[in-house]
């Protein structure tokens, strides 16, 4: 075996100067693109804050938070945001009580029970569900689920939170399922082996070892799904109705926050009018709601994430 010659400098011509320039150019270009997205976010938040500020110069914060009616377009306008918040919370609540069991069970099935073959069929199916446009879900709720629910629930009106919430739940199920599945698959096999080696059954292993180990990932997937549900517009506008009403009755029409924004934006709302500013105030409330959820999720993940090397 011949040894490679050492220090034969004539063979090595590194292009250091050019490399440095290319590096710099690449850095600039990437930085520019990053700046565009950051600037967009800042712009949106700035507009929101500005218009919301304008809104509160005309409507007091106290009546915004305490009024029990939402009638911004009437002559005797009232701005009780909790009328809309109650509808959004109820819809998201129904949605997540559908999506959590459905999504989590499919995640467990996919990652722990399905054979590779079954998995290769089920997973794309789930992803197709995620790709259905929400307007399709909306009409599905209005034209199929509502009549069906009406046939088994006396007193259910044509527009209602129940049907919209259930379909909303189905629409966010793939999100819960695929993120939870990632969290479950990330649990090291050695933990499962540890449980099996003590005489645990598969069910005991999953419930007592795998799920707790994946808890932070599962919770953050659920919170992401809830924020998605809160911001979802088409389904709730189409199927839940446009009737601002305080309370948590799922059988009657309600108006979600996003549904109000749609309604107000569809009419001709002159820029600068109170109605126009109201849209921003509601938008800001939505933003705050999801922000709180995200902060909670961030905290929870940091607090409960288990580190395995």
């Amino acid at each position: 075996m011949s040894v490679l010659p050492v220090n034969d400098t004539s063979l090595w011509k590194p292009t250091r100067l050019l490399n440095r320039r290319v590096e710099l150019a690449v850095k600039l270009i990437f930085g520019l693109f990053a700046l565009v997205s950051v600037a967009t976010t800042i712009g949106i938040i700035a507009t929101l804050i500005f218009e919301t500020f304008e809104f509160f110069r005309e409507v007091s914060m106290v009546s915004f938070l305490t009024d029990s009616k939402w009638t911004p377009l009437f002559s005797s306008a009232q701005f009780g945001i909790f009328v809309l918040v109650s509808a959004t919370v109820m819809l998201s609540g129904i949605a997540i009580s559908v999506a959590l069991p459905l999504g989590l069970l499919s995640a467990i099935c996919l990652s722990e029970y399905a054979s590779p073959k079954l998995r290769s069929i089920l997973k794309p199916l789930l992803e197709v569900l995620a790709g259905i446009p929400s307007v399709v879900f909306g009409y599905f709720a209005l034209l199929l689920v509502t009549p069906f629910l009406q046939s088994i629930t006396p007193g259910l009106e044509g527009f209602n939170a129940l049907s919209a919430g259930v379909v909303l739940g189905v629409s966010i199920t793939p999100l819960v399922a695929s993120l939870s599945e990632d969290a479950i698959s990330a649990v090291p096999q050695s933990l499962r082996d540890g449980a099996y080696a003590l005489g645990a059954t598969k069910r005991e292993t999953i419930i007592s070892v795998v799920l707790p180990a994946a808890l932070s990932g599962i919770v953050s997937s659920v919170i992401l799904a809830v924020s998605r549900a809160i911001g979802e517009t088409m389904i709730v506008t189409l199927a839940a109705g446009q009737h601002p009403r305080l309370g948590l009755n799922p059988f009657v029409p309600v108006m979600a926050m996003t549904a109000f924004i749609v309604q107000a934006s569809l009419g001709d709302t002159p820029a600068g009018s109170l109605a126009y500013k109201t849209i921003y105030a509601v938008g800001m409330s939505l933003f705050v709601l999801t922000l709180i959820l995200n902060i909670f999720s961030f905290w929870f993940v940091r607090r409960f994430r288990e580190k395995y090397e």
């Binding site: 050695s190 933990l191 082996d193 540890g194 099996y196 080696a197 005489g199 645990a200």
Partner: protein, 262 residues
């Protein structure tokens, strides 16, 4: 083997293949009660594979297939009437990498007892198991802390405590000290010698001194090339540890234990 011992585990003509290619062939072994048996041999010769057959952990590996017969207390453990879950309660396993559950130290111990329907005083069982595993003094004030917050050596002793807690008959250990510092290693070895009064232990190790220090019997495995270009493990020699180290019958054993191998 020179003395007639009561065998807890008995492997007869055991061969294991993964996805059709044979990993280890034709192993005959008796594991005597209340003794330590060490498995030594070069990497890839099938020590872990044979170990995993003893509590059917290989059932969980896709593509793994075993031929031959393994008995535990004279019952064929691969018989259709044997539930691997019941078997693993009596033949437990400690792994190379410490794998405490992401639970409190207390719950790590209590988990196995609970799933196996332990009816006695849980606090007492936890304390006794941790004491037996020589880790009680280090953790007694932080039983509520996560098992993952311990050092590697402490985690491994926690895993041993967790295994003892379900009061098995046999403890299988796959290179339990390979991730540990020399002091933790010595503590685990002392522990093994103490445990032997009540348990039977099979330990895989790459550390010759460890094998000679802790074991009563040693099995030397080796691998040979097959015609198809793969490697196939087999049992070269199985005898009392002092014979393996000082008076081996096989040339390969002699070379391996004296470090002149390969």
């Amino acid at each position: 083997m020179d003395e007639q011992m009561e065998a807890v585990l008995r492997a007869e003509q055991v061969s294991v293949s993964y996805s059709g290619s044979t990993a280890v062939k034709n192993v005959y072994l008796n594991i005597p009660r209340n003794r330590v048996v060490a498995f030594i041999g070069p990497s890839g010769c099938g020590k872990s594979t044979i170990l995993r057959c003893f509590n059917r952990m290989n059932d969980l590996v896709a593509g793994a297939k075993m031929d031959g017969r393994i008995t535990f207390n004279d019952v064929d453990i691969y018989d259709s009437s044997v539930d691997p879950v019941d078997l693993r309660r009596q033949v437990v396993m400690v792994f190379q990498k410490p794998n405490p559950f992401p639970k409190s130290i207390y719950e790590n111990i209590a988990f196995g007892a609970r799933i196996n329907g332990y009816q006695g005083d849980m606090d007492e069982l936890v304390e006794r198991s941790l004491q037996q595993a020589a880790i009680w003094d280090e953790v007694k004030d932080k039983l509520k802390d996560s098992g993952l917050a311990l050092s590697g050596g402490q985690q491994q002793r926690l895993c041993i405590a967790r295994a003892i807690a379900i009061q098995p008959e046999v403890i299988l250990m796959d290179e339990p000290c390979s991730a540990l510092d020399p002091i933790s290693t010595l503590r685990v070895e002392e522990l093994i010698k103490k445990l032997i009064e009540n348990y039977t232990i099979v330990i895989v190790t790459h550390n010759m001194q460890q094998a000679s220090r802790v074991s009563d019997y040693t099995a030397f495995f080796n691998a040979k090339a097959t015609e198809t270009g793969g490697k196939m493990g087999y049992l070269v020699e199985y005898d009392r540890t002092e014979n393996i180290f000082h008076n081996p019958q096989q040339q390969a054993t002699q070379e391996y234990v004296s470090g002149r191998f390969g």
